[in-house]
């Protein structure tokens, strides 16, 4: 298990290094000069040069890459070109909305998907199964922003249970903040839960037809017991993979939902930074998201090993 973990950690470090180079190079080749953008097209040449110097845009490619990576490693993400505030501070603020939202949505999605998938698989071919499959088909098909707007109409405008958007800030109270994240979380969770439930069901059905489930039945376990004690844990590997992918998506890909609900999250920030050519913000946020994705993958791989002893033993 230790060796497995160390190998995974090593591969995590290598992936991060490669990703940092790719991101840096991609931003480098983007057209547009941040200094011109900040000062406007009519700025004087010597002012521009001074600003470039100040922003550190004049050094060699190599030295700029090193100072960028070195800065991130010490928690210094640089200063935003447009807002003139430290990127770390901006990201920190936004992350406190996007991360809880992603976790909230993922929790909801898992809480819905597991029972639904297990229920459908255990009653294969029954009305329950057909029902779950039908509803999840719909859940996958409905665009989540449309569903979000529908919820705003019903729960915010008509019933007035929730506010239609915005975020009060965590200092205004935990429950109030959670309440304002509820509709966005549901909107994000709906398609995810549908996909996850379908994966859960099909993975479990595959496992239920395995020989060892028959062996378990021959020992005297009922169908239900065989499912819970033998099939379920074996069926988890594909489900964990999907959960990992979904978390990364929820963290970075909530931009449409953030826009629908006026949430100042990471997705909106990166969108604004790209349009303002605020390269230092783009680089840092993308790097942060890459880190999140790779870290989640690492956790998923560790959880594989916890589920399956064959991986623990380094095979």
């Amino acid at each position: 298990m230790l060796r497995y973990t160390l190998t995974r950690l090593l591969s995590l470090a290598v992936s991060l290094a490669v990703a940092s180079v790719v991101i840096f190079m991609a931003v480098e080749i983007l057209p547009g000069d941040p200094a011109t953008l900040m000062l406007g097209v009519n700025a004087q040449e010597d002012t521009l040069a001074a600003l470039r110097e100040q922003l550190g845009l004049n050094g060699s490619l190599w030295s700029r890459y090193l100072s960028w990576v070195g800065g991130m490693l010490t928690g210094d993400f640089g200063t935003s070109y447009t807002y003139r505030t430290p990127v770390a501070e901006m990201v920190g603020e936004r992350l406190w909305i996007s991360l809880p939202l992603a976790i909230y949505a993922l929790t909801l999605s898992t809480l819905i998907a597991f029972p639904a998938g297990i229920w459908a698989a255990s009653k294969r071919g029954s009305a329950a199964d057909v029902g779950v499959m039908g509803v999840t088909q719909l859940g996958v098909a409905i665009p989540n922003f449309w569903f979000a707007m529908l919820m705003v109409v019903v729960f915010a405008i008509n019933l007035r249970w929730f506010s239609a958007g915005g975020f009060p800030g965590w200092d205004k109270g935990f429950w109030l903040s959670m309440k304002s994240l509820t509709l966005p979380a549901i909107a994000l969770a709906l398609p995810q839960a549908s996909i996850l439930a379908r994966v859960m069901r099909s993975s479990l059905l595959d496992t239920l037809s395995e020989d060892f489930v028959r062996t378990a039945r021959a020992k005297g376990l009922s169908k239900r017991q065989a499912l819970w004690r033998h099939a379920l844990r074996n069926a988890l590997i594909p489900v964990l993979t999907i959960i990992g992918l979904q978390f990364s998506f929820l963290l970075a890909g909530g931009i449409i939902i953030e826009n629908v609900f006026y949430l100042p999250g990471l997705g909106r920030m990166i969108f604004q930074a790209v349009s303002a050519r605020d390269l230092i913000v783009v680089e840092s946020v993308v790097m942060l998201l890459v880190f999140a994705v790779i870290a989640v993958n690492f956790l998923v791989e560790i959880s594989y090993a916890l589920v399956d002893p064959r991986l623990r033993h380094g095979r």
């Binding site: 028959r214 020992k219 005297g220 002893p309």
Partner: protein, 528 residues
């Protein structure tokens, strides 16, 4: 009173009749062998007793186990019987165990389901059960996982689970079919010992007459869902009544007529071949280890000869086969076919590859199900520089299909329309179509029922006479190698330990391993 009595059992799955009027009984301490080909309903009979039938199955008649009328019991009542009064052992030990739970845990579960005992107590009894199946704790701790055990050891764990509560009846469904012959002999001995010690009844299901006849007190022969004959063993073999039983026994010992015309020139020459694989690194930056699968093997195969290669799984025979076919490069030695190397530089030599073809074991997995037979049969044409087209191609397809006993019209069909035996014929047709000199038969008849196997062996003998083919016959099945080969090689742990004329190797084995193999192979009773 019988322990298990099946009377007039009919079974349908959906609208399809599976069993008709099946009656048999097992007394305490008695071993009853059920023999039949695939589709004869023998396994379904066992699953009816366990009531672990596929959905849509309807059984009529009566099945009485230790006074319980199985067909009328509710599901909870059945759960109380399964694993407690009746245990079951399955065919495929590699998949019969839950891969993510330890063996001690899985054996203890049988006890925990049926008795109110503590986990510690259950584990203690699991330890006893595992010791009874010869997996003592000092070498096989309860915390082992299935992937750390061999096939034979896993089968022992399955048996330990089945007998942990000392059931009155043990059902063994092809318990040794997936195992090597020496492992098979050990498992059969173990089953027999457990049955005799506990006075259990055993219902032993097999396609292999020889396996059952060694062990059983009574034999039941089944065919297409019906019992055709039953009687005490081995008396039954000398007084078989039903024509099917007689033909089944004949097929089991069938030896094809072969007119051997071996020339003195070697066709295939394998000299000092070595092949090793890298094993995973022990430490993160350590050097990967090496496992030598083939350790300097040399032999000749003469033109027109049928050569057998016998060995147990893991002995390196498949690696050697792949090397001969030029599918993998070897690390040492040389393989020449008709004087030319199969590997030139680092790529396989096409001129040589087209002189040999291969037929694999699995008649179901070795064809692309979406291609028609004509396209499948033509696959080896890619080895030719100018593959035939149009009329010539059609003629080649027809010729290949008719020479294996199929019709020219079969070329328009898809592979799912054929039975296992017919598929193996198509595989042979595919090998024949480019008129090779050597055909490698890698367990080519191992998955077939005995009667089909006999037909395929006849076909192979015919084709060899007709086209002057040479065969390299790779198998773990000694009885087949004995009847189809002129010479044979015995391989163990990457080395050839014995070689010689087949009859001589079998009747007077020199190497202790060969003797062990031959002793382990189950024998059919001599026909009176």
């Amino acid at each position: 009173m019988s322990l298990l009595r099946i009377e007039k059992l009919d079974l349908d799955i959906g609208k399809r009749p599976i069993l008709r009027d099946v009656s048999l009984s097992v007394d305490p301490g008695q071993i009853v062998g059920v023999i039949g080909e695939s589709g004869s309903g023998k396994s379904m009979t066992a699953f009816t007793v366990m009531q672990l039938l596929p959905e849509g199955a309807v059984a009529r008649g009566s099945v009485t186990l230790d006074g319980h009328d199985i067909l009328t019991l509710s599901e909870p009542e059945l759960c109380a019987l399964r694993g407690n009064k009746v245990g079951m052992v399955f065919q495929e030990p590699m998949t019969a165990l839950n891969p993510i739970r330890s063996i001690g845990d899985q054996v203890a579960e049988t006890i925990l389901i049926h008795e109110r005992v503590s986990k510690t107590e259950a584990l203690n009894r699991a330890r006893e059960a595992l010791a009874r199946v010869e997996l003592p704790e000092d070498r096989f701790p309860l915390t082992r996982y299935p992937h750390e055990l061999s096939g034979g050891q896993r089968q022992r764990v399955v048996i330990a689970m089945a007998i942990a509560l000392r059931p009155k009846l043990l059902i063994a469904d092809e318990p040794t079919t997936a195992l090597d012959v020496t492992t098979q002999a050990q498992i059969l001995k173990l089953l027999e010992r457990l049955v005799r010690e506990d006075g259990m009844g055993m219902l032993m299901i097999s396609h292999d007459l020889a396996v059952v006849s060694d062990l059983a007190d009574e034999i039941v022969i089944m065919r297409s869902g019906e019992v055709v004959e039953r009687g005490p063993c081995p008396v039954i073999f000398s007084a078989l009544q039903h024509p099917y039983s007689i033909s089944l026994l004949a097929a089991s010992t069938h030896a094809p007529d072969r007119s051997v015309q071996v020339e003195d020139t070697p066709l295939l020459r394998v000299s000092e071949v070595r092949r090793s694989y890298r094993t995973p690194r022990k430490t993160l930056f350590g050097k990967p280890g090496a496992f030598e699968a083939v350790k300097g093997v040399s032999f000749d195969l003469k033109k027109g000869e049928s050569l057998g290669l016998v060995g147990e799984s893991g002995c390196g025979k498949s690696t050697l086969t792949r090397a001969i076919l030029g599918l993998e490069e070897v690390q040492g030695g040389e393989i020449l076919l008709a004087g030319e190397p199969v590997f030139t530089g680092h790529s396989p030599n096409r001129d040589v590859r087209r002189k040999m073809q291969v037929v694999f074991q699995d008649p179901y997995g070795s064809f692309n199900p979406r291609h028609r037979v004509d396209r499948l049969v033509c696959e080896p044409f890619h080895l030719l520089d100018t593959p035939p087209t149009g009329k010539a191609r059609d003629r080649a397809i027809e010729e290949a299909l008719t020479s294996v006993g199929l019709t020219a019209a079969d070329r328009y069909k898809y592979i799912h329309e054929f039975s296992g035996g017919q598929r193996q014929r198509i595989a042979i047709a595919r090998a024949l179509i480019i008129k090779p000199e050597l055909i490698l038969l890698d367990e080519a008849v191992s998955a077939l029922d005995v009667q089909v196997r006999a037909q395929i062996l006849d076909l192979l003998a015919d084709l060899s006479d007709q086209f002057g083919l040479s065969y390299l016959f790779i198998s773990h099945d000694l009885s087949v190698v004995r009847v189809i080969t002129d010479r044979c090689l015995v391989m163990k742990a990457g080395e050839i330990v014995e070689q010689g004329p087949t009859e001589q190797v079998f009747s007077n084995p020199q190497h202790p391993y060969t003797r062990e193999l031959i002793a382990a192979a189950p024998d059919l009773p001599e026909l009176a």
